[in-house]
Symmetry: C2
Amino acid sequence: MPRRHVDVPSLVTAAREGSPRAVARLITLVENADPRLREVMAQLAPYTGNARIIGLTGSPGVGKSTTTSALVGAFRRRGRRVGVLAVDPSSPFSGGALLGDRIRLIDHALDSGVYMRSMASRGHLGGLSWSTPQALRVLDAAGCDVIFLETVGVGQSEVEVAGLADTTMVLLAPGMGDGIQAAKAGILEIGDVFVVNKADRDGVEVTVRDIRGMISLGDRTEPGLWRPPVERLVAERGEGLDDVLAALDKHWEWMAGNGELQRRRVRRAQDEIESIALRELRIRMGDLSGGADVTALAERLVSGETDPYAAADEVLAQL
Amino acid sequence: MPRRHVDVPSLVTAAREGSPRAVARLITLVENADPRLREVMAQLAPYTGNARIIGLTGSPGVGKSTTTSALVGAFRRRGRRVGVLAVDPSSPFSGGALLGDRIRLIDHALDSGVYMRSMASRGHLGGLSWSTPQALRVLDAAGCDVIFLETVGVGQSEVEVAGLADTTMVLLAPGMGDGIQAAKAGILEIGDVFVVNKADRDGVEVTVRDIRGMISLGDRTEPGLWRPPVERLVAERGEGLDDVLAALDKHWEWMAGNGELQRRRVRRAQDEIESIALRELRIRMGDLSGGADVTALAERLVSGETDPYAAADEVLAQL
């Protein structure tokens, strides 16, 4: 495909002035791991750090899109500019299609105060833990006050992606054995606010009780720590939305008040730096692997003349 | 927990002589990323390269354990020593529990010619693409002629793990929309042999036709390339087992005859070397991240004084 010329400074300026088209093109650069990102990120840096990032995760079928849509509406009524970034950790192949081909958040499609974007990981070099923070930086610098980071609940990568938010909201639904299954160790550790959606259905009491029980089994009941609330919601009709918003606000104030927000952001920045550095190292190693030396090493490993640690030492010596 | 003293040379000798206990302890060292692995792998290296590794993957419910059990029986009847390594890419938290607490392959529990082991990824440093090849090396050096590498079908990590085998067999079942869903791009690319299990159920024709259709849409119909067969199986009763075995053997002979086996093994050895080298780099970077410098960098990133690429450059300069 022929690439259109991208003039980074004008794109960055246009994105900062709120051009959805410029924002979209910058996020496409992120998706494609474009080398010009280095320049883009350097120019965006001074304008970042303002957005409040809310992670939203849950198994398929719990109503993530409907809930996100309701929350977007609530923040819009407060006059906030809102971004929605939907990532699919389970889909290295689709290039965004799995989420992108759904018509998402149709209620807000014509609202110029809302940016929406879905993203899939492309290949292995870095993946979503590399690309997601950079996409968030674009939305942040473009003036979003609140960014919803939506991920499908599928194990480890979900936990990684959800860990990129200031507040992580875990969505469940009654009567889904899977919901509780998904709410095992990892989810309990990352959830700041739990929301049981479809709370007009049978079984909501059991689900709420199960989650409360699992939370209290954890380490989170010590005094001074945040105890994640469990809220009920019927996102389709907006019932319980105010309680969910109040819980999100309370967590935000708690974090801002005791330094936890800064601690989380510094830790995330550290991960972000590491993931970019690691990708750079992988690329350097990949360049090596393409060469004759590493192939010869691999052949010696296959024949049992060397072992994988000794071979790795040789590669590292060449870096 | 107090650690028992492990004498590596005697453990390696015992494992090579077929002690299931020694094999189990060596694989535990792999699971725990024990520093003594360097020594273990150096001593095992000369005895590796004999095992034929058959990957077996599929969604939950398609009958992976029953199928593995039937195949293990078939290879035992041929007089082969068989290893089974079951890995769960979706479970970074359980430490093997999810698979380990099932009573697996009970038919072969008392057969001294069969080793069985399940393994989960622990944490992020390397993960299953780091540990699986090393566990396979242990089973290989312990004299297994055939090793089944069983993984649960859950996206990208499954593809990575399945890619560690000589032959990858994808298991499906009729009437599972999920089965076909799972059989999207990634699975089609890695499958060498497709097996529709539970072939006595309704819908088997549709499933077989769907898979054939998807295969022929791919690049695999060019002359000279392997065209993955689609076999039917009722693993519980052993119906179709001979056809599945014949397909596996045919793929093995095809690979051995045209050099593909060696090519695959060299490529895997390259990945193995890279993954050990990368883990080493991550550890070095983690050591840095624990230090004051990277925290200070991360704080400057949060405040917008630097950008992630410039910060990563500073980290790389320190490595």
